[in-house]
Amino acid sequence: MKKLILFFPIIIVLITAACSEETELKKSVFIPDDVYSDLPAYTEWGYNTFGAYYDMVPFISNESGVPAKMINTGGKTSFMLKGHMSQGYYYYYDYNDEASLIFDFYSFDPQVYTDLISLNDLTVDLTGSTCGVRVIRDTANYDLDILSGTLVFKRAQNLYVDKKLVEVILSGTFEFQALVDGDEPISVTLGRFDVGIGYDNFFRY
């Protein structure tokens, strides 16, 4: 029991140290676009926001969830943007409107999040055979047949805070036309993202 009491302050210190990671950088900062005010402005600060019009309906990140994840598993790397798809607001939304847009890359194999820096100034033709696009809505997974479109990683930056590397900021744009389940044509326009990928949202297994 005495040992436990002795260890207690150490445990508290460890927990505090773990929490003192750059939590502020994980927050979403929604700066509205000057013209398309439903969408976040294009930025390169790692504001953890994204937005696009999915068949004219705003599809944007929200502040309650992790807006972006990079998942390397099963021979592919997926860049997942998770938010909600509805006319309306950044802060108030119906959980039934939650949706994810996932870009799959079959020839990109990052081992750690710092490898994402190789995406800097990279344009991906979404009609190519080395990538795919999926949408998750109402827990259903829809594969998209891309008719045309691109995903552009305009900038990838190693972000140092007080001289310590904390994450990689990915900023870019996307736009495409596709068939949902080979049936309904949709368009995704004016897409933009500015997200930080670090230890907590990069996965490899």
Partner: protein
Amino acid sequence: MKTKFILTGALILLLTGSIYGQDKKLKLLFLESGIDFISCEQPEKDYIRADVDPYYYDFVSDHIRSLLYNEYFGVKFEYRLVKNLLGVSGGMRYNRMVSSIGKTDYWTESPDFFYVNFWSDGTSTEYAKVLEINQKSDYIGIPVELRIYPYKDYPVNVYFKAGGSFNLLVRSQTNLVFQDETMNPYERNVASIIEKPSSYFASFHLGIGLKIGKLTKPGFILEASIPVGIATPDKATFVTPQGGVGVQFMVRIPLNKKIEK
């Protein structure tokens, strides 16, 4: 430029003194000290990472505020006109203008630092966690003031004033308070991205004063200035002044013992 400015000020003082010495109008020497508090626009800086106010959902705010005050001391001569109902004064003063940017989240749980982007190239960006940015700028100025004394010379008296000053930068220094003290060696690097102070500024004010003491005896003066305005030539300054208020304390020394009636 600065030397010429100081010489001009000194010449004004000498001329004023010599004029005073030649007639029988009331002449006064003021030793002044004061401070002006100026409100500023909310800072929107390209080098500061924005933040969103969690309690005002419809607004995007930077959670940071600017502060500006100008403290000064100096000497002035006043020359009374129109049966001592008007006073015209001029002199020289030394100003220290302090401007700062810091967090103001006293009522929220967000931290008291903000991120300053002080270096960036194609694939690397560096932020520093900063608690405060302070800029101290010293100016030499020439104040010019007009006072209206509508009442008789009671020992305690109220009067009105209007004035302005033109001030020239002598030196300045920008300091940062980092959240992590190990960043202190990089202070000069980070400070180099902060805007430089204006090379000069002009200020204008209206006010009311309280004179204590007989006119022919040494006494004190307390003045309140409202509003106080500051104009700078540069738009891209560290803080953007709006308007403010000021207080001034003066020791009044009459230079002649008799008043012209």
